[in-house]
Symmetry: C2
Subunit: 402 residues, 2 copies
């Protein structure tokens, strides 16, 4: 075996990582807590597949998601497959097709996704997503419910509300303002979109070259506390669609503010994030000192149509790994060391202890696992659990001879 192979064989690709025992247990505990939390709100778990035909995975989603998706040919069908880069379109398909898109469906999910490149410098290329969605209700109450659920789950997970900021935006504000600017060149519109998203005034001005595009420039400044909504109302008083969106943001900020008084609210009307499929309120949650959003979501009422059933939808997704990194590490449990013996009496005792929820680790080759603080010993023919003499535990070692 050439040594170059040996030294490379353990290397993971950039942006791809593995979770070792402590961190993996923490992510697993968090995953269960979040799914159980969502279940108590009536959200039912679905498990979408890792891959789908790109025809169904990428229909109706923006170019961003398309470029993030790994694609490969299916040797069975000759068609192109994609590895999911986001589970939201999959769950929309399940609602619209598999569940036949009737009534209100509350669905949740958790699983790995894969990106061709990181969405930001520090981001993983394989986010472990957990999310929840409501289908079939176009009212603001559904938006309030999913944001309430999202913030409640973060609270349950132990993230202090006082460290969080809820960013609010709206997917129906930019469109009318862009229309009003009268830019008909698709390439120019795309460059303008980028400039506004990056909040780059010099770029925007260079692109507009003195045209009447001042409302686009105005939009860029409309971010800050909830008072931004009043300012925006004045700027866009002639645009009823924008005013309707501002009304929604007003109602949302009041309702969420009352439910989570400690969470800071930030309104950003130039937030054009994502896959350009949002039709209503969009939101993100940021934690102090973390550049990436802990969770994000929004309303996207156009997705189901491509699966044969147009349905209103709103929901959020969060990255379990990012969230777990904010939590203090769980304390490792303790274990009982058991001797390696074929004696049915000791086997029965081990089974009994495990059935009670104890961790019992057999000392293979007589070597005790370092996690053990008790041991199973034979006292006058009876198998009993005895606390280990702490001086006999090898400090941080790989186990002491039993």
């Amino acid at each position: 075996m050439p040594s170059s192979l040996t030294t490379r064989a353990w290397q993971l690709p950039d942006g791809i990582d593995e979770l070792l025992p402590g961190a993996a247990a923490q992510v697993e505990a968090l995953r269960r807590q979040l799914l159980d939390g969502a279940a108590r709100w009536g959200y039912q778990l679905v498990i979408p597949p890792l891959i789908e035909y790109t025809d169904s995975l990428l229909v109706g989603v923006g170019e961003d998601l398309d470029l993030l998706t790994f694609k490969m040919p299916d040797q069975l069908s000759g068609r192109m497959l994609g590895v999911r880069a986001d589970m939201t379109p999959q769950v929309a398909r399940i609602d619209a097709h598999s569940l036949a898109g009737q009534g209100v469906n509350r669905l949740c999910y958790a699983g790995s996704t894969l990106h061709t490149r990181s969405r930001s410098l520090a981001a993983s290329r394989s986010p472990l997503q957990m999310g929840a969605e409501i289908y079939g209700d176009g009212s603001l109450s559904a938006d309030i419910e999913v944001m309430d659920l999202m913030l409640s789950l973060l609270d349950d997970a132990g993230i202090a509300a006082s460290t969080l900021t809820l960013d609010l935006g709206h997917g129906a504000i930019y469109g009318p303002i862009l229309e009003a600017a009268g830019l008909d060149d698709a390439n120019l519109r795309s460059q303008v979109f980028d400039a506004v998203q990056r909040k780059s005034r010099p770029d925007l001005e260079a692109l507009l070259e003195g045209r009447e595009g001042s409302l686009l420039g105005t939009l860029m400044d409309l971010h800050g506390g909830v008072e931004v909504l009043a300012r925006a109302r004045e700027c866009f008083e002639a645009m009823p669609e924008v005013l309707a969106a501002l009304d929604e943001l007003e109602a949302l900020s009041q309702s969420l503010g009352a439910r989570f008084p400690e969470v800071a609210l930030y309104v950003d009307l130039a937030e054009l994030r994502g896959y350009r499929y949002h039709t209503g309120a969009v939101f993100s949650v940021y934690a102090q000192g973390l550049g990436e959003a802990l969770a994000r979501g929004g309303r996207y009422d156009n997705v189901g149509a491509v699966y044969g059933c147009a349905r209103p939808a709103t929901g959020f997704a969060m990255d379990l790994r990012l969230l777990a990194a904010r939590l203090s590490e769980a304390e490792a449990g303790t274990a009982i060391a058991a001797p390696q013996e074929e004696d049915p009496a000791v086997q029965a005792k081990i089974r009994e202890l495990r059935a009670k929820g104890e961790t019992v680790i057999v000392s293979l080759g007589g070597v005790r696992d370092p996690r053990c603080d008790r041991e199973l010993v034979n006292l006058d023919g009876d198998w009993q659990v005895q606390v280990l003499d702490s001086s006999a535990v090898a400090p941080g070692g790989n186990g002491a001879k039993a």
Copy 2:
């Protein structure tokens, strides 16, 4: 939107499926039960990545696994990536490299894998694997422990032991017998391997063309109850390596037979399954009426070396979806309907009920979720849970007006 797209957009690739609410909840419950079971035996969870460089994912594994692996270029590095088709080599890498291969490591895992084609007609192309491995112990006791764990987990999951058959084979039997046959052409050896694996006597005879290969033919007949071991001992009395392997199988069948008297034992010495990396005992568990194995595993002591650290290893993996399909469906829980109101008193009551573990579903737009059998009502200014009049519940409907 052309209708051809609409009708195709929901199609899933062959061998790929999604899990809808009832089935997904069952698989999730099973996943937790199995991981918690393994934890009580001291197995620590690790979460390996979905993709790795093929250089590390496929090093040291056989051609079978290579052909099952989806590959695609990494646009960041220009190197080739593979989606894991099996998590066992990943966990071996984690033991050898990430955990520095010291002492005894007991690791477990659960996650989706992906295959370019199904391993059998009915098999999924994306098995949801759960598995457990012991590293660092080359003794038979480790083999016994993982088989004991595997059968105990199946028992905990509610699979009756009396419906199970444990197939035992050994990875060190075929090699010496092939050597004795003196076949030096690699292509011929490969064809002979296939013929023995398929237990095809005509094919084997055609390949050997009257050569002295009779022990290969003998091997093909050595399957059945534990009495096969005694017959094999006579046939291979001149081959000490084979006799040592038979001794191991004898000890294993005695130990497992004592621990699980209801599980049928089947010895198959011509079982050459898998990725050709097994060096010791190999095993599978079959359930009555199911062609696919519920779980399979074995000893493979050569894997860690390619990651810079040779380690003895033994373990098993099972397919959660296959296992869940054997279980009766879990009963769906019941829920409490709550009115959609901003009143802080009702919000507080809902929070309190959820904190107690109740499922509370807000009736968006006044429509009650059909899962609700109770509702939250305001009785003289006090919010209380009341059983719903069963006649008011729409039978199988999508909710009745509250």
